[in-house]
Amino acid sequence: MRKIGLVVFVFFCGWQVCAQRVEVIKFDRLQNIIDAKAEKIQVINFWATWCAPCVKELPLFEKLNADKKDVKVTLINLDFADKEKKVESFLSKKKMQTEVLLLDEIDYNTWIDKVDQSWGGAIPATLIVNPKNGKRKFIERELQEGELQKLLAEVE
């Protein structure tokens, strides 16, 4: 019996922990993250596996996620929902630790303005919200090294 338990555990590790799973979400979940009444500053990055500048800036978010425990980083993936496996294998290959949610909302014009009125519809894009004072920043371009820290200071 104990042996079976161990086998089951190993199986789950191989499948769940060692390869990050991607949760497919709808917009209401993203809205909850944006509106979160949390203590932590929310850093929300919009990206896709096919978007070269997005992939290039991902390490900045990985590093922020690892270094700053008072900041919640969420990576919103905009690959098509039927590409879940592709996204998961991408994350395993890059050994990503940050939480990734796949947003399955193809009718962009119904939700894009709710993220930010100024969003023209291109990625990468990053939204930073400080729930404590309501300050927010929205950037629709690739970020450079050190820029996230600057933006975080601006919403303090």
């Binding site: 896709a48 096919w50 978007c51 098509f80 929902a81 039927d82 193809i106 009718d107 962009y108 014009n109 119904t110 894009i112 303005d113 969003w119 023209g120 519809g121 291109a122 990625i123 629709e140 371009r141």
Partner: protein, 203 residues
């Protein structure tokens, strides 16, 4: 004296403000003529289109997954509407230095492979894209011919489902052109064109 100085400064700052911001077209604006090189090597100008009711201008490219997903629909737009007086013009403004798959040679290859029956123009200086205020690919501007002018009638996305044409229930461009052909008002004049950002040259 002080006042003059202040207003001079103010005027200067306004000039700088407007100089720094690219002008872009809004609904109802008249479009300045442009002339760009087609994949067949010939120049194509908007003013060449004398006997049309309008033109569907699409800023597009070879490389963006959204452009690829929309490619069949872009070709269908020209097939359906050029005979009705709304031919399509595709313009690629991506810098080939940043996106090598969008070089003029690659554009020729795509146009040939896909049998494009509409111009696929290269906007080498990116000035046309900038004057339109195009930001993404694919980014559509439906122009209506009014007298000798072309006026912007619709700006935005092709429809509301990038992944699956059959599942799109708002076909913005078709609805806009159909409305213009019927002399009715356009149901949705402006949407956001979801896609890849145009690959601007490094300043």
């Amino acid at each position: 004296m002080k006042n003059t100085k202040v207003s001079a400064l103010l005027a200067l700052s306004l000039v700088l403000l407007f100089a720094g911001r690219a002008p872009k077209y809004e609904i109802g604006d008249s479009v300045t003529d442009f002339k760009l090189k087609n994949v067949d090597g010939k120049m194509v100008a908007l003013s060449d289109y004398k006997s049309v009711k309008g033109v569907i201008v699409i800023f597009d490219c070879n490389t963006c997954p959204y452009s690829k997903a929309y490619n069949d629909r872009i070709q269908a737009l020209n097939k359906n509407y050029s005979s009705k007086g709304f031919p399509l013009i595709a313009i690629n403004a991506n810098s080939p230095e940043i996106s090598p798959g969008d070089s003029f040679e690659e554009m020729k290859a795509v146009a040939k492979k896909k049998n494009y029956d509409f111009p696929y123009l290269v906007d080498e200086t990116q000035q046309v894209a900038k004057s339109f205020g195009a930001s993404n690919t694919p980014h559509v501007f439906v122009l209506q011919r009014v007298g000798s002018d072309f006026k912007v009638a619709y700006i935005g996305a092709i429809d509301n489902n990038t992944r699956d044409a059959a599942a799109a229930d708002k076909k913005y461009v078709e609805e806009a052109v159909d409305a213009l052909l019927a002399g009715k008002s356009i149901p949705t004049e402006k949407t956001k064109a979801i896609g890849c950002g145009i690959k601007w040259k490094n300043a």
